[in-house]
């Protein structure tokens, strides 16, 4: 069979996309690239800063090494405070998030108004960053760990509450109906029919959030809300880079450990 005969039987052209589809695809690419370029251009970034950026960065690095190891003794206290802030903040989160989660889940909320209040509280909590909560609570409680604890709690309630509310909405109706059929009160239905079913999710979410909170509490000190951040901020502003590197190593350490603990506990629960 010659090529011509072959071509008559089997087409020699095949396109994955029609020309129109291809055009649309490229228009998407162009649009995304354009938006990014436009955003960057409007930010009026002083590009000449990049000219000496590598020397600046190199300079910084050379000042950070070798770390001033003796500083570890002074870091210990703030480091413990950081862990406390994360842990106590998570404890408060549990106490506050649970009732809100029951309000925000469609199947356990008393009425439409309570559902809306629950949802609103969760959204409001999540929309404001931990550090921004830090600004607010420092103004209320004054600088220190107490402001940090409440900032962590204020942000975590939205996170933990949302996940628990979603878990409650997915529970098995049958069990709940069985408990209701015994004539149990509303509270009893919650305690016996609902909570046992979502308990693993509650524990898992809390441990997961605690791990995130460790990371968050390392920077709360930048706004005065306690923890190692206060010291880190001070050292950076005093250009004490060999102290900064010690603190970065310490932060790296607790974050890695908390991640490990959280992963282990969550692995055990599920």
């Amino acid at each position: 069979m010659t090529r011509e005969q072959h071509a008559r039987r089997y087409p020699e052209v095949w396109r994955r996309f029609t020309p129109k589809e291809t055009l649309i695809r490229y228009l998407w690419f162009a649009a995304v690239a354009f938006i990014a370029a436009w955003s960057l251009q409007r930010l009026e970034i002083p590009w000449f800063y990049f000219l000496d950026a590598h020397t600046q960065a190199g300079d910084l690095l050379s000042r950070m090494v070798p770390p001033y190891w003796g500083f570890f003794a002074e870091v210990a206290g703030p480091l413990i405070e950081t862990v406390h802030i994360a842990t106590l903040g998570t404890v408060i989160t549990v106490l506050v998030a649970l009732p809100i989660a029951f309000l925000a889940a469609r199947n356990t909320t008393p009425n439409a108004l309570t559902w809306f209040i629950g949802r609103f509280l969760l959204v409001a909590s999540r929309s404001v960053n931990t550090v921004v909560w830090g600004l607010i609570f420092v103004a209320i409680f004054g600088p220190g760990a107490m402001a940090g604890i409440w900032s962590i709690a204020a942000r975590s309630v939205g996170f933990v509450g949302k996940l628990i509310a979603e878990a409650i909405e997915e529970i098995d109706r049958g069990t709940v109906e069985a408990v209701e059929a015994t004539g149990a009160s509303r509270l009893q239905v919650l305690l016996i029919g609902v909570i046992p079913q979502v308990l693993p999710v509650i524990y898992g979410t809390i441990v997961y959030r605690w791990d995130i909170n460790i990371r968050e509490s390392t920077v709360l000190g930048f706004v005065g809300a306690g923890g190692i951040g206060i010291m880190l901020y001070a050292s950076i502003n005093q250009f004490a880079w060999h102290e900064v590197s010690v603190m970065l190593i310490a932060i790296f350490g607790i974050v890695v450990v908390s991640e490990f603990v959280s992963a282990t506990v969550r692995g055990r629960i599920t």
């Binding site: 950026a53 600046q56 406390h84 209320i140 760990a145 046992p196 706004v223 790296f252």
Partner: protein, 269 residues
């Protein structure tokens, strides 16, 4: 017939373990919250100052309401800067995530490259955005450049990690089959890896755009531009009614960003 008391199942069955856990929790609360009880471990909380908190909060709240939206110009500039920082950072973070993700996938690259990729991921993920931001502020000075770079690093690390994990979970057969046709490494990437990864990659990137909008409001607090910088300034001037206006704007922005991200991800199947 004796009526047996039914109890709901306990999470921890052993009474001893339950008691031990309760005492640990109570003990921890007492030790950590009593100033000076255990040196170094107990928090130094000024309970007197904390007690004033409620009245201060009421005072602050009174000064916050009604929110002051009169400085629209400043508000708009901060908002615009935040959104632009988020957009630009998502785009470049998305691009940089590709090499980083490929480097961190054990089934694609040799061990030294993999270790390099994974350590880059580890370091960038461990440190909070605000710490990274303060370093960029020190190198590039105050302003949105430091903010954009921070968000680029964070996005790159986040998307890169997802990508690496997805690639590692790919069935090895598809890669093997394409290799067996005599295809080179770049062709393997566009013919086997890219089609399999693309939907998840786009989904994660869109999610990250939404996350970047949220984070762009906070990197400004250390001077890296955006609405966060305006917020921090208003707080330091006790300009609480303006602060509330900014906070409400941020909440709206985050809400819109989340809605947009969910909508796009829904359309991506």
């Amino acid at each position: 017939m004796t009526a047996q008391q039914w109890r709901p199942p306990r999470f921890i069955e052993s009474p001893f373990a339950r008691f031990a856990l309760t005492s640990v929790v109570v003990g921890y609360l007492v030790v950590s919250l009593t100033p000076g009880l255990v040196p170094l471990v107990s928090l130094e909380i000024d309970w007197g100052r904390t007690g004033e908190g409620l009245s201060r909060a009421a005072d602050m709240f009174a000064r916050m309401v009604p929110p002051d939206f009169s400085r629209l110009e400043l508000l708009y500039k901060g908002l615009r800067e935040s959104v632009q920082m988020a957009l630009a950072a998502s785009f470049f973070g998305m691009l940089l995530a590709i090499p980083l993700g490929l480097m961190s996938a054990r089934n694609l690259v040799p061990l030294p490259v993999y270790l390099l990729g994974r350590s880059l991921l580890g370091v960038t993920r461990t440190f909070h955005e605000v710490i990274i931001a303060i370093f960029f502020v020190k190198i590039f000075g105050f302003g949105p450049l430091a903010g954009v770079l921070t968000l680029i690093v964070a996005s790159m690390s986040f998307i890169g990690k997802m990508l690496a994990e997805d690639i590692e979970n790919m069935p090895p057969g598809q890669l093997e089959a394409i290799k067996a046709t005599g295809a080179s490494f770049p062709k393997l990437l566009v013919y086997a890896v890219q089609p399999q990864m693309l939907p998840r990659y786009l989904g994660v990137s869109i999610y990250r755009l939404d996350a970047n909008i949220r984070h762009s409001t906070v990197v400004g607090i250390v001077g890296a531009g955006g609405i966060g910088q305006v917020l921090a300034a208003s707080f330091s001037r006790y300009d609480y009614d303006f602060s509330l206006a900014i906070l409400l704007t941020i909440v709206t922005l985050v809400f819109v960003g989340e809605f947009f991200s969910n909508w796009v991800r829904g359309r991506l199947r």
